[in-house]
């Protein structure tokens, strides 16, 4: 063990003397994290959708007695897309070249159908091909849903006005004609002036029952319109940028790049410095040499990961962001960082042994790290095969471990399972690295 620690001390000293390397190794994964964040942000960006108005929508639309400012209504219901008014020809051209992802056409006759309320007016949606078409269709459906909700409210209000007129009497406008409605109240009053008879009493009973029934119409009509209503409570907690998942990914991604490159480069550098022969003649065995690189990776992951976690904690604290600060879980995270760093370090040592030269080893480590990291970012539900492959590498387990260590209410089971995975993978890669390290003598 003493020899392993001597080599680790030497490696840390060499690392301290390479500030450019150290800064690059720190900056690179953080830049990658930022880029991943930007890509994730793009996934939430508003798609551009063309609106082709063939119906000649007016500035203001009076519908069911309610007045709609068309521009404002469209703006309000289309918050998840950017709607641009285009001619039919422009819209089709832009759909073909991908400048818009969909075209919503308001066909001729739309307004008369809407006003007539005899059958539902139709909007035509045309989407392009490709990965985003499903998402765009969903967003257009959401847009139409929002529009329907607005109209529904107006229609219910109008229908309730009819019911009110039936109950209390009023002059209403229907299909452009004014109609005077007597109403149940006034009918009951008129009946009081009639001579008593069995028929009059039956009509008075009917009016009473009808008034009771119509009294329930308001809430019944609203309930029928929305059998299930979704109540959206304003969001509280972390912003997406500081979500548990993003923190776990940032930590894992940073230490994955750093430890893979570091361990691979450090092992291969023993050959570049021509000291591998000196060490191999009984001073430091291959197993001890690999162990030293694994410990080095674990220590660097520990120091760097702790610094990143503290930085996140401070931002959360200063920003007053709710959702649980990581301070209480720092000790758990430190153990996780050491285990994950060591496991990744073992994989790095394997690459270093196979590559044999420090420069080649570093390049190979970057090339290997990229797909491992991106495989680990693919959700299991989307591409199960990618998820299975990433299970064979420490990155995905490191993400889960950090997530559990920082944010799970009862982290022990998940923490233990992922730590075992990492330890097992680390041991496997370490054994292979020990065999590969013999190549350094050749």
């Amino acid at each position: 063990m003493k020899r392993v620690l001597l080599v680790v001390r030497k490696d840390l000293r060499l690392l301290r003397r390479s500030p450019v390397l150290l800064v690059t190794l720190l900056a690179y994964p953080l830049v990658i994290t930022l880029l991943v964040g930007l890509v994730a942000g793009y996934a939430n960006a508003k798609p551009r959708v063309a609106l082709v108005d063939q119906a000649g929508l007016p500035q203001t639309l009076v519908l069911a007695g309610a007045s709609f400012d068309v521009a404002k209504t469209i703006q309000r219901v289309s918050k998840d897309v950017t709607l641009v008014r285009l001619s039919r020809a422009d819209a089709e051209r832009q759909l073909r070249n991908g400048k818009v992802v969909a075209v919503v056409t308001v066909p001729p006759g739309f307004l008369s159908d809407l006003r007539g309320m005899l059958h539902s007016p139709r909007l035509k949606v045309q989407t392009g091909r490709g990965g985003v078409s499903t998402r765009v269709t969903q967003q257009i459906q959401a847009l139409v849903y929002s529009l329907n909700r607005q109209l529904q409210t107006a229609f219910i209000r109008t229908n309730l006005a009819y019911v009110h007129a039936l109950k209390h009497g009023a002059t209403i406008s229907f299909l452009g004609r004014d109609i005077d409605i007597l109403g149940l109240d006034r009918t009951a009053q008129l009946l009081q002036g009639f001579p008593p008879s069995a028929n009059r009493d039956r009509i008075i009973d009917f009016i009473r029952d009808a008034r009771l029934a119509l009294a329930e119409t308001d809430s019944a009509m609203r309930a029928t319109a929305n059998p299930i209503e979704l109540v959206q409570v304003s969001q509280r907690g972390r912003t997406w940028a500081l979500s548990a998942q993003v923190q776990a990914y940032t930590l894992a991604l940073t230490i994955a790049f750093l430890t893979l490159i570091l361990a691979a480069g450090a092992l291969a550098a023993e050959r570049d410095e021509n000291v591998i022969g000196r060490l191999a003649r009984g001073l430091v065995g291959f197993g001890q040499l690999v162990a030293a690189k694994v410990v080095l990776a674990g220590l660097v992951a520990l120091a760097l990961g702790a610094a990143i976690a503290v930085a996140f904690g401070l931002i959360i604290e200063i920003g007053g962001i709710e959702g649980g600060e990581p301070w209480d879980r720092i000790p758990l995270l430190l153990v996780g960082l050491m285990v994950a760093g060591a496991s990744l370090g073992a994989l790095g040592a394997l690459l270093g042994g196979l590559a044999r030269e420090a420069r080649t080893a570093s390049l190979v480590a970057v090339l290997v790290a990229l797909p491992i990291v991106f495989l680990g970012l693919v959700p299991q539900e989307v591409v199960p095969v990618a998820s299975w492959i990433s299970e064979a590498f420490p990155f995905a387990h490191a993400v889960k471990l950090f997530d559990a260590a920082l944010f799970d209410a009862s982290p022990w089971a998940r923490l233990g399972r992922e730590a075992l995975w990492l330890a097992g993978l680390g041991a496997g890669f370490g054994l292979l690295a020990r065999l590969a390290a013999r190549r350094l003598l050749a």
Partner: protein, 223 residues
Amino acid sequence: MTDAAIPLLAARGAGRRFGDQTALEPTTIEVWEGEVVALLGPNGAGKSTLLALLAGGLEPTWGLVECRPGVRVGWTPQRPAHYGRLSPRENLELFAELEEENDPVAAAGSLLAEFELPDSNRPSAGLSVGNRQRLNLAISMLGKPDVLLLDEPTASLDRPQRRRLWESAGLQRQRGGSVVFATQNHEELDGHADRVAVLVDGALVFDGPLDEYERTESARLLA
């Protein structure tokens, strides 16, 4: 069998192949107390490979290398083998600790003085070629080796340093230790070597006393 009947260090049919290239055919050679053995041969003859095999810095493809129990071996590879970003003192202290010197700091200080190496924080990579070779030699002296394996040790040394090196080799012999050095320089044989082993194209073609070697055809060809 007493220790005196066992060589300090021996290669028994030891050879090495790199890929499909044979660097050293199966070779048998023994190193005994108090002798200085010169390994002679042109470039690519297998001298460095044989020394690396004897040092344990390389594993033989065939045969084996035997070392008398308790015997310590020091090895100076042809290309300096130390950490370029560590200072000479840091290199010496690190290898002294790995060699389990009782007082690594004192051992490093003593060798810095003996080999006239700069005791500063300057990285070894920034030293002159001669100083790097001296550091290379100094590291191989750590752990008080009984057998010193030197691969073309005088190649980058100035005259006084060469003289000191041969004085150290003489002291090593007087203490009952031995020295094996590889060279292409015939002049280094006189006054330094007791025995000569000649390698040509990876094969040992001569192994015997210096005076016997000087009477052979090989001596005339290699001189």
